[in-house]
């Protein structure tokens, strides 16, 4: 079965690609490309998959899930500037899409040994924009 844990973090970023002109960046990213950057309250939904333990009735200890998410995502990203302080966004555009993929890549090894495997992450940049990645 699936279970989902939600966390929040706040970070600043700026979306510009070094391979595009200033005009092309502005056309593609709009206000996200503004020179001085801006920030969001990100919300992350992490969905895990596993079988409930026959004794405890739990797939996984949610306290442990919480501490993994705080260590792997919140600690390095909360109140940081993604472009300047979080790898690989010094060279990868920190769009919601790329951030969702990066968070998935950081979390997958944390859950590789079970008991719950990482199924997907859904990152809300605002309540009107989310990106989901299943590792494929």
């Amino acid at each position: 079965m699936l279970l989902t844990r939600r966390i929040e973090f706040s970070a600043s970023h700026r979306c510009v690609s070094g391979e595009l002109s200033e005009a092309a960046n502005h056309a593609l990213y709009g206000a996200e490309s503004n020179e001085s950057g801006h920030g969001h309250n990100y919300a992350l939904e992490v969905t895990l998959e596993g079988e409930p333990d026959p004794v405890t009735g739990m797939v996984v200890d949610l306290k442990e899930v919480k501490s993994v998410l705080e260590r792997a995502v919140v600690a390095p990203m909360d109140h940081r500037h993604l472009n300047h302080e979080v790898e690989p966004f010094d060279r990868v555009v920190p769009t919601a899409e790329n951030l969702a993929v990066e968070i998935y890549r950081r979390l997958a090894p944390e859950f590789a040994a079970g008991p719950a495997r990482l199924r997907s992450v859904r990152l809300y940049e605002t309540e009107d924009l989310w990106v989901e990645y299943e590792g494929r």
């Binding site: 979306c15 690609s17 593609l28 555009v93 899409e97 993929v101 924009l129 989901e132 990645y133």
Partner: protein, 160 residues
């Protein structure tokens, strides 16, 4: 390369009255209750569009959001916001504008216009989800209507 899903939410407010000519007035009242009151009522609808595709490595952006927003604004919001669905949206001239049907009508219009706006970019329209209120939520996936004759196709592109 990474395949991602992207969801984007929009809002529109519209009036509707649930009523079908296939049933008597009495049957309509019994089935739809207050949703059948004669002068209609309205909702602040929330529309979520879900698209998918391989993430372009250079941009990290599935589609320019301004283009996606412009598409939804032109194809849906400009026709559905602050209108009466029963009288101003062609498909509902003989179809009860439940939010189930609304979801399918919206999806049908988006699917019809999608190739013109975004064809050849490798990005797929996956589904729509509509919140009628915070408590009633409806979802339909692209391709649900393999039997396209059920709703008249010519209504899909009719400007309301």
């Amino acid at each position: 390369m990474a395949r991602v899903l992207l969801g984007r939410r929009y809002r529109f407010s519209a009036a509707h009255r649930l009523h079908t000519p296939l049933l008597s007035d009495e049957e309509n009242r019994a089935i739809y209750g207050k949703c059948n009151y004669p002068y209609g009522h309205g909702h602040n609808f929330v529309l979520e569009i879900v698209i998918s595709g391989e993430l372009p490595p250079v941009t990290g952006r599935l589609l320019p959001l301004a283009a996606l927003d412009g598409f939804v604004r032109e194809v849906i919001l400009s026709r559905f916001d602050h209108v009466n669905l029963n009288t101003q949206v062609g498909e509902f001239s003989a179809l009860s504008p439940t939010t189930e049907n609304l979801s399918r009508v919206v999806l049908r219009r988006l699917e019809s216009a999608w190739p013109h706006w975004f064809g050849g970019r490798g990005v797929k329209l996956e589904k729509v989800r509509i919140w009628e209120t915070g408590r009633n939520i409806f979802e339909e996936s692209a391709g649900w209507d393999s039997k396209k004759e059920e709703l008249p196709l010519d209504m899909v592109t009719t400007k309301s």
